[in-house]
């Protein structure tokens, strides 16, 4: 078997194992709840019978591993359980399946994330590569200081500065990104402009610094020096010699930051009241609606793990040393 193939398989297996353990952790969320949460969910006036029925529905009278098997089986089939909210003491059930709550919002979140990625990735790569090339110049220092400052800012600070400037003082963009399924694409992009800009500012800083570090690391290696000494021009060195080896670190940087986007999206969605999964999760945490929290956490964790796994695999299959073993 080709060694690259084996390494990729190993990573895939490791990723699956991580996903499995993560799902156990998220599942145990309901396990760790205090004993009286039936009353907490159903309200003070809940009768003994409704509380008992609620506990039976959650299957709390079965052993934990059985419930886990059932839960994960349902999750794989796309059933994330039923939300706690909408239940009340009288036993009338107005709750909705978690999937119905998450599905439309997931699309919104993915839209925002991909819009950000499409803007941010080229900018960050261009800034990173140029500042590595003109290292220690005034340009490099300016970009560096600017990005270090952006990294130190909380996301909501960047967001509110943008709102103040672009929505309040000079009303160019709307400060509320209230989109729904019927919103046409152009309007959707217009409304999501400020959230996307905020996220772009935050991740460009990270991505640019990491790209710069990766390239500088590479340009210091002996074979690049050899290429330079043999008379190759700067562009030739970069494109022919440096870039093939740089794909792995750059792919890692991009995937890592897209994964970071997954987390950054939570705060930004709340600031702009953007109807995405992050906002849903925060609301669910406030009302302690555990099934919804579990569903959202599972989606976030899965995306995060898969993106990191992709980065790993791209890093392996583009590594010339692994592709052409001695």
């Amino acid at each position: 078997m080709h060694p690259v193939f084996r390494t990729v398989l190993e990573r895939l297996g490791l990723g699956l194992a991580t996903l499995f353990i993560v799902s156990i952790i998220i599942f145990s969320a309901i396990e760790m709840l205090p004993g009286d949460f039936g009353e907490a969910v159903l309200g003070q006036a809940a009768t003994k019978e409704t509380v008992a029925a609620f506990r039976r529905e959650l299957g709390l009278d079965e052993p934990a591993y059985m419930r886990y098997a059932q839960w994960i089986g349902n999750v794989v089939q796309g059933d994330l359980g039923t939300s706690f909210s909408g239940r009340n003491a009288s036993g009338i059930d107005r709750s909705r399946p978690v999937v119905d709550l998450i599905a439309p919002r997931l699309w919104n979140t993915l839209f925002l994330a991909s819009m950000t990625a499409i803007i941010a990735v080229p900018i960050a790569l261009a800034l990173g590569i140029t500042s590595a090339l003109y290292r220690n110049s005034i340009y490099d220092r300016t970009v560096n200081t600017a990005t270090l400052t952006t990294i130190s800012f909380p996301e909501f600070f960047v967001a509110y500065i943008l709102i103040l400037l672009l929505a309040s003082l000079w009303p160019v963009f709307p400060s509320l990104a209230n989109v729904d399924a019927a919103t046409p694409l152009a309007e959707r992009m217009f409304k999501a402009a400020l959230p996307a800009m905020t996220l772009t500012l935050v991740i460009v800083a990270h991505m640019m610094r990491m790209t710069r570090a990766a390239i500088i690391n590479l340009l210091a290696s002996p074979y690049i020096q050899m290429a330079r000494l043999s008379g190759a021009s700067q562009t030739e060195v970069i494109i022919k010699h440096a870039l093939p080896n740089a794909w792995a670190p750059i792919a890692t940087v991009i995937a890592f930051n897209l994964a970071y986007l997954v987390v950054g999206v939570v705060v930004v969605e709340v600031v702009f009241v953007y109807p995405g999964v992050g906002q849903l999760m925060v609301d669910a945490v406030t009302s302690r609606d555990i099934p919804v929290v579990q569903g959202c956490a599972l989606i976030f964790a899965m995306t995060y793990i898969l993106l990191n796994l992709t980065a790993d695999i791209i890093g392996i299959i583009t590594n010339p040393r692994l592709l052409h073993p001695k």
Partner: protein, 305 residues
């Protein structure tokens, strides 16, 4: 050397270095050589510390004292106006320094206590304990910590103690990784072996033999970790699941006054009000980053690459 060659004496220069400096002189010399950014950072941290310690003396009003006029404009009576239920924003900013920064410092300390101790233990033990801890940390780091924190907070509820413990445990994973990585190089040294043969316990070896030798990276990490913890707590409070009212806290203050930003066109000062606590957070993070940068350069000679 910039000395005048006529009057320069090598003996004088060498001799000057031979006298043993006290810790205080060394600190003063280092400070004299520090770059502008680091000085700026240190003065900001000092001011924050003073404000946090003497908050009740500095604040004109109480932390949760309510006045009849909500959303009052900036005036001599209320320097930054009042918030949505009529509390003086300036006073709450001052108390916020104590609450927000205090909780962040406590969390970072706890994270270092847990992560540092386990990291050292793993580095010394290197057997099943190391394997077990390292794999656990791998899994914990596979989930974004903000998401993890949200799940845990929804289970245990948002109290300050829960917040501190949850963030500290999640952040101790990074401390564990770093401590283990740097300590492994020290554990193999002869003097550690000698201490072992002398029959010292694991506690002594951790504290007296290894810890002093891995301090510089840990101190730098403390600064960086503090920034992360501080931003994480601010973000959670901003989301409404962190520090709960009526405790004055910068993160939740931003959210409570956020609607004022819409009035920036008519009254710029009102529009700036929600940005004040946010910039207090940002300023401290920038300051700590500057100091850490300088410290890293000083202890390892690395620039930012």
């Amino acid at each position: 050397m910039t000395q005048d060659p006529e009057t320069y004496s090598a003996l004088g220069e060498v001799g000057a270095f031979q006298e043993r400096r006290t810790l205080w002189t060394r600190i003063k010399l280092d400070l004299k050589k520090s770059p502008m950014t680091a000085r700026f950072g240190m003065s900001v941290i000092l001011i924050y510390a003073i404000v946090a310690i003497f908050a009740p003396l500095l604040a004109p009003y109480g932390e949760a004292e309510v006045f009849p006029v909500p959303y009052a404009p900036w005036s001599s009576e209320f320097i930054f106006g009042t918030d949505q239920i009529g509390r003086d924003i300036f006073s709450r900013m001052i108390y916020g320094a104590r609450n927000t920064v205090g909780i962040a410092v406590a969390t970072t300390l706890l994270a270092f206590l847990i992560g540092g101790a386990l990291g050292l233990a793993a580095a010394i033990n290197r057997s099943w304990l190391d394997q077990f801890l390292s794999r656990t940390v791998d899994v914990l780091m596979a989930i974004p910590s903000l998401i993890f924190a949200l799940v845990l907070l929804s289970i245990f509820g948002s109290t300050v103690i829960n917040l501190i413990i949850i963030i500290a445990v999640l952040d101790s994973t990074r401390v564990f990784r770093l401590t283990r990585a740097v300590a492994i190089n020290v554990v193999v040294m002869d003097y550690v072996e000698a201490a072992r043969l002398r029959g010292e316990g694991i506690g002594w070896i951790m504290r007296r033999e290894i810890l002093p030798n891995i301090m510089p990276p840990l101190v730098a990490e403390f600064g960086l970790r503090f920034c992360f913890v501080f931003l994480a707590i601010a973000a959670l409070s901003f989301l409404g699941v962190g520090i709960q009212p009526p405790t004055a806290d910068w993160g939740s203050m931003v959210r409570e006054n956020a609607s004022l930003i819409q009035f920036a066109q008519y009254d710029l000062k009102a529009g700036l009000t929600p940005l004040l606590p946010a910039s207090a957070i940002a300023l401290l993070t920038v300051a700590v980053n500057f100091v850490v940068d300088w410290f890293l350069q000083k202890t390892s000679g690395i620039r930012d690459e």
